[in-house]
Amino acid sequence: MTNFDYALWIPLLPFLSFLILGLSANKIKARAAGLTGVLSLVLATALSLLLAWSYFGAHGGGHEQAYAALQPLKWVWLRFTDTLPFEMGILLDPLSVMMLVVVTLVSLMVHIYSLGYMKGERGFARYYAFLSLFTFAMLGLVLANNIFQTYFFWELVGVSSFLLIGFYYDRPSAVAAAKKAFIVTRFADLGFLIGILILSYYAGTFDFAQLNAPDGPVLSKDWAPVFGGHSLMFWALLLIFMGAAGKSAMFPLHIWLPDAMEGPTPVSALIHAATMVVAGVYLVARLFPVYELVDYGAALQVVAWVGAISALLAAIMAMVQMDIKRVLAYSTMSQIGYMMLALGVSDGGADALGYTASLFHLFTHAFFKSLLFLGAGMIIHALHTNDLREMGNLRKHLPWTHWTFLIACLAISGIPPFSGFFSKDEILAAARENHFWIFAIGYFVAGLTAFYMFRLYFTIFWGRERQYSHKPHEGGWNMKLPLAFLALITLVAGFIPFGEFVSADGLPHHSALDWKLAGSSIGIALIGILAAMYLYSEYKQLPSQIARSLGPLYRLVERKFYIDDIYAFVAKRIMIDTIGAGVAWFDRHIVDGTMNLIGRTTLRLSSAIKGVQSGQVQHYALAFLGGALALAVFFFFRS
């Protein structure tokens, strides 16, 4: 067996880079900082590719044998109890190795891209420090061998996301967005943590291998329903899924994602498109056997519906956005909804097609979506605006961007032979097998996706020429190269026989395309594209007329279904202004008031009785005799 100990260096290299950059803070030169970051990532990427090569290679292609789940490293980090230690370890299985490749590759691309994009920014070193920190955390999350380690890195990616969204900390909107992202995911993580507590209390372990084992403490038992007709395990899984939904911006915890676009665009590409936001999918996939088997997959049903609703709502909202990055953000949400949906519908079959499909989509999506974001970054870099209404006819000015963007758009719309087509098709196939309505939503969303993506494409690259303050031009090689590379992957990734590597039971599966389904999904995608082309390839009044005719409905979508407002109401009005202010008032006036009252009463009492000491010696004598008599009376009543 190959020795995989070096896997530890994959997360450790970015961490070292973070330490170097973080400690040298603002003293280090921008160039050196960038190089440190990129170099560490280059090494990490090389290592993970090597690892993937040897891991999948070691298998030798035998089709009957499952990929082994390896734990090359494991040590107790903090001993909670003797039976429930908090371990740090590395778990290598197809899922994590695949993620490893995705994360390091995308991260490397973003690191290189940022050299150009962030050039001359204040806090360049800080930016790279945060990027490294994020990469470290994400890799740690991917490699985690137990759920508590996952939680550890889960929080860490949350914080690095917070730091990166708020990178332009002097922009109030960025600060607000960072706060929102952190708090919303934190709220979701609360569920995650409680879920872990419940799960580990009943299972007695954090370890994924044991949790997922068919004869393990979770799956070998029948959990009696205790609450709401479901077992505690179900509720635990649901709570864990709450964490996953928060991180993956699933409805109704999605509100932070669009705002998170306040961060630098490469960050959005890395964190809010390719890696961190799919952590939720990854988590559910990690615990897939548990989700699948506890309460007969009841939790998966929830996952499926949440995914479907998110996919639909996000797609609808994406259609009306005027900010290039927000469109992409909603599309991300929608695509992750797809992945969740796919996981959710994969309960029935033994080969669990949805599982493979979901992760395949995760894989392909990571590349084409980061490509989209990096392309958007190019545009923003060139125009210094995010607003679609200030763009148009850019294909002449930004040819590289144009072509790569187009490839990505085709991929996401599901047009063969681009990667998105293969993965999305598999998802639809899986959904069709299991649940008609979910399939229907998925199918409909596919059309919407094609529509809004090409709305974006046509608005930016076609349409009418705008008055640009200076002639837009593309960035240097360090920005073009990642685009090209990602486009290349987008082109070829679809042909990877993904099922051979990643599947629910670890066995290699071969999946064939169902051309009937594929045809119809290409069809709806084309309809979407054509509609977008009709509406947006040249400047027309029509889109706004349609919008106006839809009236309140349009307004509803534009206001993001008022979900943000509900949150704002709950957070600000109820939590801060009512409970927070209430507690503060209660504390100042009731609790503290009581204490002060005790003091004041004592003082007042003291003043009230001062007259007793009248200065009249005869009064004193009376008191004296009274006292003596009182003693006598006291005695007589006593006996």
Binding site: G611, S614, G615, Q616, V617, Q618, L622
Partner: protein, 105 residues
């Protein structure tokens, strides 16, 4: 021992005397009167002592001695008190007890 007079009666007298003293102490305004009341009060106790000795414990003289000492000490007390009252009179030209209330609360 007085014929026909019981110890209870004598003690009643002395207690009454005692409380007359107390009453005087509490109600007189003139410091001298208060002093007199005090002496009344002390004499009541002296009477008590002597009577108890004579009636109840005739085998010793402790009560009698005590009575003598009470009288002597009372005299000393009055001496001190009068001296202070004189001083007070010098200062405020009054021997009214109610005017002696500069120190209070």
């Amino acid at each position: 021992m007085i014929e026909g007079v019981s110890i209870q009666e004598i003690m009643a007298v002395s207690v009454i005397l005692f409380f007359i003293g107390v009453y005087g102490f509490l109600t007189r305004r003139n410091l001298i009167s208060i002093l007199i009341s005090l002496d009344l009060l002390l004499n009541a106790v002296a009477l008590n002592m002597a009577a108890i000795n004579r009636y109840l414990h005739p085998d010793n003289f402790q009560g009698h001695f005590f009575a003598v000492f009470i009288i002597a000490v009372a005299a000393a007390e009055v001496a001190v008190a009068i001296a202070i009252i004189v001083d007070l009179y010098r200062l405020i030209h009054s021997v009214d007890v109610e005017e002696v209330d500069k120190l209070k609360y």
